[in-house]
């Protein structure tokens, strides 16, 4: 009965979302606040209903109710409890239910936290959000229903894909979805503002918390996914330009652009049209990501739902929302007046530059991801656009952007003084340069570009932190501490997030110096990895609760001292006869010795890949720091205004914002 109630609650939520898509909008257009007020209430009701539904499915997983087809397909009585929980969203139907749950969560969030918004904007926004919810609820009910029952319940389930039986899976998808779906609210605000026809600084203020929440979770979700791939897939890489990774990177790039352009809009009322456009594009790319992952049009490790019919459904949702919002945009764009003016060299100008680079990078990723699909669709020819393409397009776009970070951050609003800024970053630049030379000297030979990139990362990191010092010291050392505490949290947040970028750049640059060994070893053999020696001690079988595995024992020596014992393994899951690998890692500070084993064909030899990865942890620490910066910024509820610098003499010719 619980399962059936969950199913019915989902149907109720769909009808309620249709109601919410019509009535508040009607109220907004008729200026009837009571009708509008039905919107927030319906949004909260939807959250309650979908939560009930999600709880019912979770219950079915926890008690192993195999009369539910979805539970039978993806669970097993012997599965550890945590994977019974995470198994709920470790499959197509369940993950789509999580999608609509998060959608409802954001809808209710707006209803609860944004009650003080002008009622017409609130009504229109919630109506648009409900349209998205209705589309996806219909998708769940008609094309991917997790509540379908089996008349004759089997006695045992078919188990969760072993590669997904990992704590990383419990966290990665919900985070990523929070990010993807979070942008739906930003999109709804943009569409709502377009419907009402009022776009001003207050709009940027309204979307700010939602934009930040989406960006923080998406950042963490991507970093988490990258880390999961690093230790679970056993390839030793952190980013593969896999189409599904690209699908999450695209909204991140435009979302990051949006984060910056919304600052300009909130503080300076400039870049209004562009900000609205970015809000629409970012959510469109989130939908595109969902489509790419869910339709199975891409062959990748993530595409566990290969079902063209479902793909078509999402494609139609995609076309309806993107098409609809761009039409709306085209109608209203003419009516929007450009806002504040600014000189090309100014904080605004720097942020425009940032947006330009991020948007073009997103476009490059989009082309690299979709071009092979389009080509295959038109000519039937299968090509693959691999890392070389992205390294040649995205990386050169990112480098100048990174170089510009410390300067842009210091420019004044409206009109800036580039020379002064360069002088003020001098200290950081000098330290960065010295550090680069020192690195080059310490490492000896190495790719020049990588050494430069390390220097660049250090420069960003130091310049970001130096800016905090500089702002506190402005006006003498006397009140420095008081000023430090008085600094707006958003300012500190910016510095920290940018420092995170620097840290990540350093981590990525150091991958050029990793040591790699791919070989076959027998017990007693040793291989040298940088300063460390890896020795194979033996190979032995081992049995876990639902798998058998071959474990290789290695010892790691630093010179003659043994520092660690590693036990990488190759597992075979009995239920699905599926092999997975467990890597062995030894951490030394921020660096790592990493071993993954392959086949042990004759029981005496083992094929393996071993790496020495200097400072590899920085790759994920950077994004975590970025997300922390976002969180800090979110905690700052104060309004932000960019105080312009007054023109001293005759103002230079000013540029309009768009």
């Amino acid at each position: 009965m619980i399962v059936e109630i969950g199913h019915y609650a989902l149907a109720l939520a769909l009808v309620l979302s249709l109601f919410q898509a019509i009535v508040p909008l009607w109220g907004a257009l008729k200026r009837d606040d009571v009708l509008v007020a039905l919107g927030p209430q319906a949004a909260v009701a939807q959250l309650l209903l979908i939560s009930l539904s999600f709880a019912a499915l979770t219950y079915a997983y926890l008690v192993s109710d195999f009369s539910v087809s979805n539970v039978y397909e993806n669970s097993h009585t012997l599965k550890p409890l945590i994977y019974k929980w995470s198994g709920v969203w470790g499959n197509h139907e369940g993950s789509m239910l999580l999608w609509v749950l998060i959608l409802a969560l954001f809808g209710a969030g707006v209803a609860v936290f944004s009650r003080r918004l002008p009622s017409d904007i609130l009504g229109a926004t919630l109506a648009v959000q409900a349209m998205i919810a209705a589309a996806f609820l219909a998708f769940v009910l008609f094309a991917s229903n997790p509540f379908l029952r089996l008349g004759q319940a089997p006695f045992e389930g078919r188990d969760l894909n072993p590669i997904l039986q990992d704590p990383g899976l419990a966290i990665h998808p919900p985070l990523l979805y929070l990010g993807y779906v979070g942008y739906s609210i930003v999109f709804s605000f943009a569409a709502g503002a377009l419907i009402v026809g009022r776009i001003d600084a207050a709009f940027a203020r309204m979307i700010r918390p939602w934009n930040l929440v989406a960006w923080i979770t998406l950042t963490l979700g991507i970093a988490m996914g990258s880390y999961w791939a690093y230790y679970e897939l056993g390839w030793g890489g952190y980013w593969f330009w896999d189409p599904v990774e690209n699908a999450s990177l695209m909204p991140w790039l435009t979302g990051t652009a949006l984060l910056h352009s919304a600052i300009v809009m909130e503080k300076r009322e400039a870049l209004k049209i562009w900000t609205i456009l970015l809000a629409i594009i970012t959510f469109s790319l989130s939908l595109l990501g969902t489509f790419l992952v869910r339709s199975g049009v891409l062959t990748s490790v993530h595409a566990f739902a290969v079902d063209p019919e479902r793909g078509l459904f999402i494609l139609m949702i995609l076309i309806a929302f993107i098409g609809g919002s761009f039409t709306l945009f085209a109608f209203r764009a003419k009516a929007m007046e450009s806002g504040g003016l600014f000189a090309p060299v100014s904080r605004e100008g720097a942020l425009v530059l940032n947006n330009l680079f991020l948007a073009v990078a997103a476009l490059a990723v989009l082309v690299g991801t979709l071009y092979p699909l389009a080509l295959e669709g038109v000519t039937g020819q299968k090509i693959s656009v691999g890392p070389p393409f992205f390294n040649l397009t995205v990386v050169p776009l990112m480098l100048p952007l990174f170089v510009a970070i410390p300067f842009g951050q210091r420019l004044a609003w409206k009109r800036g003084d580039l020379l002064g800024v360069v002088q003020r970053t001098g200290v950081a630049m000098a330290i960065g340069l010295v550090a680069t030379l020192a690195t080059a000297y310490a490492i000896g030979r190495g790719p020049a570009l990588a050494i430069l990139a390390i220097g660049l990362g250090l420069f960003i990191l130091l310049a970001s932190l130096d800016e905090i010092r500089e702002r506190a010291m402005r006006g003498g050392a006397a009140g420095a501490f008081r000023r430090l505490l008085g600094l707006p949290r958003t300012f500190v947040a910016t510095a920290l997030a940018h420092a995170g970028v620097g840290i990540m750049v350093i981590g990525i640059a150091f991958t050029a110096f990793e040591k790699e060994a791919i070989l076959s070893m027998k017990p007693g053999d040793s291989v040298k990895l940088g300063e460390y020696t890896l020795t194979l001690r033996g190979i032995s079988p081992y049995s876990g609760p639902n798998y058998t595995s071959t474990v290789a024992q290695f010892t790691v020596h630093d010179g003659t001292r043994e520092v660690a014992e590693l036990r990488p393994a190759k597992r075979l899951y009995i239920g699905r006869q599926m092999p997975t690998s467990e890597v062995g890692r030894h951490r030394v500070g921020l660096s790592e010795v990493y071993v993954a084993i392959g086949e042990t064909s004759d029981g005496a030899h083992v094929d393996l890949r071993a790496y020495w990865k200097p400072f590899v942890t920085l790759i994920w620490l950077g994004p975590v720091l970025m997300a922390f910066g976002g969180l800090l910024s979110l905690s700052d509820r104060r309004l932000r205004i960019g105080a312009p610098r007054l023109a001293m003499r005759r103002p230079r010719r000013l540029e309009p914002a768009e």
């Binding site: 109720l12 109601f19 039905l38 109710d65 009585t77 012997l78 319940a153 006695f155 009322e269 007054l646």
Partner: protein
């Protein structure tokens, strides 16, 4: 029923929740109020930054001038809307729409793919002691164990009969093959393998099964089960007289009991078609049997049932020996009256007490029978 009560409660609960603002209209803000509030807050923020020494007086002045300009622009732009339209009709329409369409759409949407009659089936509730689910779980543990210890003959020996009982004959055949590959062939295992293969073919004794039975007989010439199946194989090969001869020999070599009854039943099939000689009249019991077999089939069945019922009545009123109870229970099973057999088993337990408990347990497990409560 509880489900439908739940559905009604949920539907009207959701409708009532969603329509609450109609009864208690919220306070809301017009867009002009909001804009004024927004810029007012910004002015205060500028003051705060000024006090903290983060911006200069001139910066503050410039910013304030900007704020004022924008606020004026908004004021000009906005024609303040009332926000509380007196027209109540739209609200009534909205409420009516929700109350009507919420159940009208949601229930068919649910019924399209829902299964209102199916109860929840958590695995714990399905695992009754001795039930199939428990057996299934035990089976899985053994399977897992065997996957890791593929040379455990004892494990395969345990799992094979369980497979047979679940109708997984191919798996049973595989298990018996494994047992013999590990610990060598025995007549018992060979015959069991043949039986599993035969069952998998719906009773047809395949060449492979026949080979297994032959080997079993070679190891143990008197082995009844293998000889019985070989006789069936002979019949299936078209040699009816040969089959009858083999069954006759087998029957003669067997003591009274379930095995002999099974063979005789098979012989009776041939006798009914006139392909086997009638039984030799050697005892009064056989006399009675011959008289019985002379009757037309339905009368014969009734006569047998009558005899069995008579035996049952006598035993339950006057009591009897273990052998008599055994005959009754076996007869019930052969007549396909398993429920009555279960009753008889329970009665026998009570009547015979402790002295025959072990024998009765063995009989019950051989017949796959449980005593009636």
């Amino acid at each position: 029923m509880t489900l439908w009560i739940g559905i009604v409660v949920l539907t009207f609960g959701a409708a009532a929740f969603a329509l609450r603002p109609l009864l208690r209209p919220p306070r809301s803000r017009s867009s002009l109020d909001h804009a004024i509030g927004f810029y007012e807050a910004r002015r205060q923020e500028l003051d705060r930054q000024m006090a903290a020494g983060l911006i200069s007086e001139s910066e503050r002045a410039a910013s304030e001038a900007e704020q004022a300009r924008r606020l004026l622009a908004i004021e000009r732009q906005q024609k303040a809307g009332d926000g509380r339209a007196a027209d109540l009709r739209p609200r009534k329409v909205a409420a009516l729409l929700l109350l009507v369409f919420l159940p009208l759409l949601a229930i068919p949407l649910y019924l399209r793919a829902g299964s209102p009659s199916l109860p929840d089936q958590p695995i714990a509730a399905r695992i009754a002691p001795g039930g199939d689910a428990e057996m299934h779980q035990a089976l899985q543990r053994i399977e897992l164990h065997l996957a890791r210890n593929p040379n455990d003959a004892r494990g395969f020996e345990v799992i094979a009969p369980a497979y047979m009982r679940l109708g997984r004959f191919q798996d049973a055949a595989f298990a018996y093959r494994r047992v013999m590959a590990i610990s060598g062939e025995t007549a018992d295992h060979l015959a069991n393998l043949g039986e599993a293969l035969t069952a998998a073919q719906n009773g047809i004794v395949s060449a492979e099964a026949k080979e297994a039975f032959r080997k079993a007989v070679a190891l143990d010439p008197g082995f009844a089960k293998a000889r019985f199946y070989l006789a069936l194989a002979t019949e299936q090969d078209g040699d009816v007289p040969g089959a009858v001869r083999m069954l006759g020999e087998l029957s003669a070599s067997l003591p009274e009991g379930a095995g002999k009854m099974r063979v005789e039943a098979e012989l009776d099939r041939f006798r009914a078609e006139g392909k086997a000689p009638p039984r030799a009249a050697s005892s009064p019991q056989d006399e009675a049997a011959r008289a019985l077999s002379a009757l037309p089939p339905d009368e014969r069945a009734r006569a047998i049932e009558g005899m069995v019922d008579g035996l049952a009545a006598r035993l339950s009123t006057q009591g009897g020996s273990f052998e008599e109870w055994q005959r009754l229970i076996q007869a019930r099973v052969v007549l396909n009256q398993r429920d009555k057999a279960a009753v008889a088993l329970a009665e026998a337990r009570k009547a015979l007490g402790d002295k025959a408990r072990a024998e009765l347990d063995r009989l019950a497990s051989a017949l796959d029978l449980k005593a009636a409560p």
